[in-house]
Symmetry: C2
Subunit: 221 residues, 2 copies
DNA sequence: CTATCATTCAATTGATTGCTTGATTGTTCT
DNA sequence: AGAACAATCAAGCAATCAATTGAATGATAG
């Protein structure tokens, strides 16, 4: 070791930070937060080419944020540690606090109107038990099928307009998506409110709900 | 905005992560955690050239992790937000959990022996009130002068050997330094234990102690 | 053993980073 | 106004990174 142990340690910490310093890798981690995935599925979801995706995954693996195992001819990646999600979340919090840019983008999502505070997972669980709420899962159908909040209805943003008439205007709607990094729920709430619905976002997304130890339905009810 | 809002957001988060992805900048943040500093002082402490230091500081500012103000002809930098320390700490935790490399380096610091668990700040405060402990501040004298735990004795690692005879072998010694990123306390504890002293590390360092709202003595008692 | 499929490796391009040197800006002191 | 000082800017270099393309590995199925 030519460098001092202090620098060597800092270099390791920096390696982890560097792994988080590309949008593509943040997307990959967001996907992996939903559950383990093969390389091809990840490439498709994130819009990366296969080779590029594979290389990003290897950078994540060098930083030990993900682990892989072989399953037949496929290689399955998963998060090494749920703490990584905390790290990403804190990254988001610090960015939102300090960077005016972030605030602007988020404001842009809500289209001029002020978005209401998100509902906590605990509150949603209570409301679900009472049946006094409609839950909307705004993720692609395959992710919905792989697991969702019990009782949730699935729709994509594109299809939302067509489903408006089937929603009860007198019940509050709670929308959720992949997690704090995902903007689908923001956009769904904005769209719904514009049509006069009483809609809010869920705090976090499915990975956080699952991590709380709450029930998740798999494979289309 | 040519890119989608989702990518734009991720780019902002990535910007923050990128700011943390160089050892030099982690060192700067560690210094700033002790309190605000001018550019020259930071350059000296970190061993960076002035221009280089200034450029790193500007990257940190771009990510809004630090803020600067002018004071006479000097520019004083400080952390924008204490949450940044949490972020760095979590970075460390994730790195320590997952990277075998980190474990090895830390093990190397303790020279083969197993280091005891660090003492919590709460426990140390109790022990201090009883007077049943010797507290050792293992930072450079100027940082000690700028603030330290009441009752602490200051010594550098280099001077530690010469001070051994003035330490009471029957009292437990608690060593601390700049914080979780700083290895001085690790090394001091190892040295002390090798000489038969009963020594432990404090969890965190002075910035964490201060953030707990605990008392700090300034300017040499 | 060969064919096939999923993934990784290797080589290339253009862009970015880290660090150095020397000039420039902005502030204070005389 | 001019000298002295702290900090920043600008230019240049080597090193690294992101993305693309095409070839090579590793595992399975026939």
């Amino acid at each position: 070791m030519s460098t001092s142990p202090k620098i060597a340690l800092l270099e390791e910490y920096a390696l982890v930070a560097r792994a988080l310093s590309a949008p593509a890798r943040l997307m990959l981690l967001e996907q992996l937060a939903q559950g383990e995935r093969g390389v091809e599925a990840l490439a498709e979801k994130t819009g990366l080419t296969l080779a590029n995706c594979s290389q990003h995954l290897q950078q994540l693996r060098r930083a030990a944020l993900v682990t892989s195992r072989r399953e037949g001819k496929a290689v399955i990646y998963r998060l090494t540690d749920a703490k990584t999600l905390d790290l990403m979340d804190l990254l988001r919090v610090v960015a939102e606090r300090n960077l005016a840019q972030v605030d602007q983008i988020l404001r842009g999502l809500s289209d001029g109107q002020d978005a209401p505070e998100p509902i906590t997972r605990e509150d949603l669980a209570k409301r679900l038990a009472e049946g006094s709420v409609t839950v909307l899962d705004v993720r692609p159908a395959d992710e919905f099928a792989a697991g969702h909040i019990p009782g949730a209805r699935n729709t994509t943003l594109a299809e939302l307009e067509r489903h408006l008439s089937t929603l009860d205007p007198s019940t509050e709607i709670v929308a959720y998506c992949r997690g704090p990094y995902c903007v689908y729920a923001h956009q769904a709430v904005t769209a719904l409110r514009k049509h006069g619905f009483n809609a809010r976002r869920l705090e976090g997304g499915l990975p956080e709900w699952r991590e709380d130890g709450r029930k998740v339905l798999v494979n289309g009810d």
